[in-house]
């Protein structure tokens, strides 16, 4: 029977994987995420950090907003570290490497995409600040 903490990490792994690359990672990578968490992020997290993670697990739609706000205001937070760990795990696997390898596009397309992504990031961060404030005050 898996421990409750293992179940939480497994859920996080699946959610963060889907958030980053749009599809769910296989069990093997989720297990790797769990192992990396145990080794790298094993200590007790501040209450607000734990609350934000719990909120993200309960409301997966909020992850991109929480991440956007944390990137701006709390770059070293537990949420950012956990998503970074999942990004590393995905990148170092052949099944997802292509999602991380660079791509060459036409300069016009490049400019449009960069502007689009920048605008999206600003919106996410702006909405995210409100969501983050609510998440940090929610139950852990």
């Amino acid at each position: 029977m898996p421990e409750p903490e293992d179940q939480e990490l497994e859920l996080e792994g699946r959610l963060f994987g889907r958030y980053l690359v749009g599809r769910e990672p296989p069990r093997e990578l989720v297990e790797r995420y769990r192992e990396a968490n145990r080794i790298l992020l094993g200590g007790t997290a501040p209450g607000s950090d734990a609350a934000v993670i719990a909120f993200a697990r309960r409301h997966p739609w909020s992850i991109s907003f929480l991440d956007g706000a944390a990137g701006l205001l709390r770059p070293g937070s537990l949420l950012r570290n956990k998503i970074l760990v999942m990004a590393a795990v995905l990148e170092a696997s052949p099944a997802f490497a292509e999602e991380f390898l660079s791509r060459t596009v036409h300069p016009v397309s490049l400019v449009l995409r960069v502007l689009g992504l920048a605008a999206l990031a600003v919106v996410r961060a702006a909405v995210g600040v409100l969501v983050y404030a609510a998440a940090a005050r929610s139950r852990a």
């Binding site: 991440d67 590393a88 795990v89 052949p94 390898l101 995409r113």
Partner: protein
């Protein structure tokens, strides 16, 4: 009896040993000698991009078995210190504790020392620079040549020739990557105008073999230079150590931690701990060469001379790196056949000095490390970086460093059985900091003219270049805790220093090749003296 005892198998130790062994002297090299016995065998001999797409075991060496390749927090020092290179720094901080605020300390107890993770840039000092160190190019030129032949140096005689004296054994330059080709082509089109303004650009001299040399190379362009040494093209001191071990008059004594030396008449005694069994032992020789790396040597020398609480200078080239957007790369697809080290070297001549920069591409490290640096949601960071990374040209800008009252290193006695510890205080003056910012501005203005738009200047902090130096400098004046022109520690009969310790200042150039040449000089002169 042993002629010379050498401490340390890094770039200084092995290059001091080579001329001694060649001259028939009996040499014993004492070394802690950590090695990687795990990662080397895991990395397939395939191009980096192919490994990324095919190897299901890649997480073991790209992230590390303990995920040590996933960094959190501030910018980490030493991009080249990937998990397979982690052994280079292992145990050093426990054996030689250093307390330093705002100064990154990297020491090595590895076979090959910090040289086992060297980025292989070859930047010989000019005559002017050496004269300001009480030396001259005539003193070092034969040793630059000897070391260049021993380690293998690839380069080209180009616009950088006046700044970096050439060696006759230089091999053809490594092929630069697409990013660098674009910048170099733009430079060549505007060369006269840029040269007149004091800007010079060329291919870097790299300690790597582009043809078969001493059983090494040629470079296979697998883009794995930060991860593995499988073609043995890029120089590592271990290669010289292997050659030395074939000589009957050379003895390598590994798994020893040297903690003191003393002179007794015509002998030098070196005290070491056998780290496998913990017992003490003593080695004797007619002379001692200490090459434990600047910080390791400072610890050993100050401890052996019982000079606790006595400040000595400490230097380290200040360093900044600047990701730029190389506009010339738009619409171009980068070639996968490449090497990972510096692709171009730039020099700006300003009155009385130079500024130096290296251009790199971000290709053979993982993207998630860059994602951490952007203040955006990771999903957008990833998408942005996938588009922008092929167009990144990253400049590493080095500044010179000179001693001052704010840059000192002191040995403190360990209390209650704790080992003695070094304390480092490194506070450059405000004037120095202003000059660095101004110099970076000058360099970046030239790169803007080459189509590279700076995005952000990142200063990883003091000590980040790992070019530690200057603790026991060569001086013309007779002062204690300095060296004479032979790199002999003043007040001793036969204790020589053969690492960065002896440089009284450091130009804005990598130090390693220069300390190897000086080590070769120390070894060659000592061989004559002991004849």
């Amino acid at each position: 009896m042993t002629d010379v005892v050498i401490v340390g198998s890094g770039p200084g130790g092995v290059n001091a040993a080579a001329p001694l062994v060649a001259a028939g002297r009996r040499v014993v090299l004492l070394d802690y000698g950590n090695e990687d016995r795990h990662y080397t065998g895991l990395i397939p001999r395939k191009p980096f991009s192919e490994i990324r797409r095919t190897d299901p075991e890649q997480h073991r060496y790209f992230l590390g078995e303990r995920f040590e390749g996933i960094p959190f927090g501030a910018v980490r020092v030493g991009a080249q210190l990937t998990p397979p290179r982690g052994y280079v720094l292992a145990e050093a901080a426990d054996r030689i504790p250093v307390h330093a605020e705002n100064f990154a300390v990297s020491m090595s107890l590895a076979r090959g020392g910090l040289g086992a993770a060297w980025s292989a840039g070859v930047f010989p000092f000019s005559d002017d620079e050496l004269r300001a160190m009480s030396l001259g190019l005539d003193d070092l030129r034969p040793h630059y040549d000897a070391v260049a032949e021993r380690i293998g140096v690839a380069g080209e005689r180009d616009d950088l020739d006046p700044f970096f004296p050439s060696s006759p054994s230089m091999m053809p330059a490594l092929d630069i990557d697409t990013n660098a080709e674009v910048v170099l082509a733009r430079y060549l089109r505007r060369r006269d105008e840029l040269n007149t303004a004091g800007f010079f650009l060329g291919r870097p001299r790299v300690a790597a073999c582009t043809r078969r040399h001493r059983g090494r190379g040629p470079h296979a362009y697998l883009d794995l230079c930060f991860w593995a040494d499988m073609d043995r093209s890029v120089y590592r001191p271990q290669w010289t150590l292997e050659e030395l071990q074939a000589a009957p008059n050379f003895t390598y004594v590994g798994r020893r931690f040297v903690h003191a030396f003393e002179e007794d008449g015509e002998r030098v005694r070196v005290r070491a701990t056998r780290i496998d069994v913990g017992t003490e032992e003593c080695h004797e020789g007619r002379a001692l060469v200490v090459a434990a790396g600047t910080l390791g040597t400072a610890w050993l020398v100050l401890r052996s001379l019982a000079r606790y609480d006595t400040p000595v200078p400490i230097l380290c080239n200040p360093y900044a790196y600047v990701p730029t957007l190389n506009l010339g790369m738009l619409r171009r697809t980068p070639c996968d056949r490449r090497y990972s080290l510096g692709q171009l070297t730039a020099i700006v001549r300003v009155p009385g000095r130079i500024i130096q920069a290296q251009l790199f591409s971000y290709r053979s490290l993982l993207t998630f490390k860059l994602m951490k640096e952007l203040p955006l949601a990771y999903r957008e960071s990833l998408r942005l970086l996938r588009l922008l990374v092929p167009n990144f040209a990253i400049l590493g800008i080095h500044h010179e460093d000179r001693p001052s009252q704010g840059k000192v290193c002191v040995l403190r006695r360990g209390e209650r059985g704790a080992p003695d510890r070094l304390e480092i205080q490194y506070r450059p003056s405000e004037e120095e900091a202003r000059m660095h910012v101004a110099d970076e501005g000058v360099m970046l203005r030239f790169f803007r003219r080459l189509g590279c738009v700076p995005l952000r200047t990142i200063r990883p902090g003091h000590g980040a270049s790992l070019h530690y130096a200057g603790t026991f400098p060569i001086t013309a004046s007779e002062r204690e805790l300095t060296c004479d022109r032979d790199s002999r520690l003043r007040g001793t009969r036969a204790i020589y220093l053969a690492d960065g310790s002896i440089f009284p200042w450091i130009p804005p150039k990598g130090l390693t090749f220069n300390l190897m040449a000086n080590a070769d000089r120390v070894g060659a002169r000592l061989a004559e003296r002991l004849a």
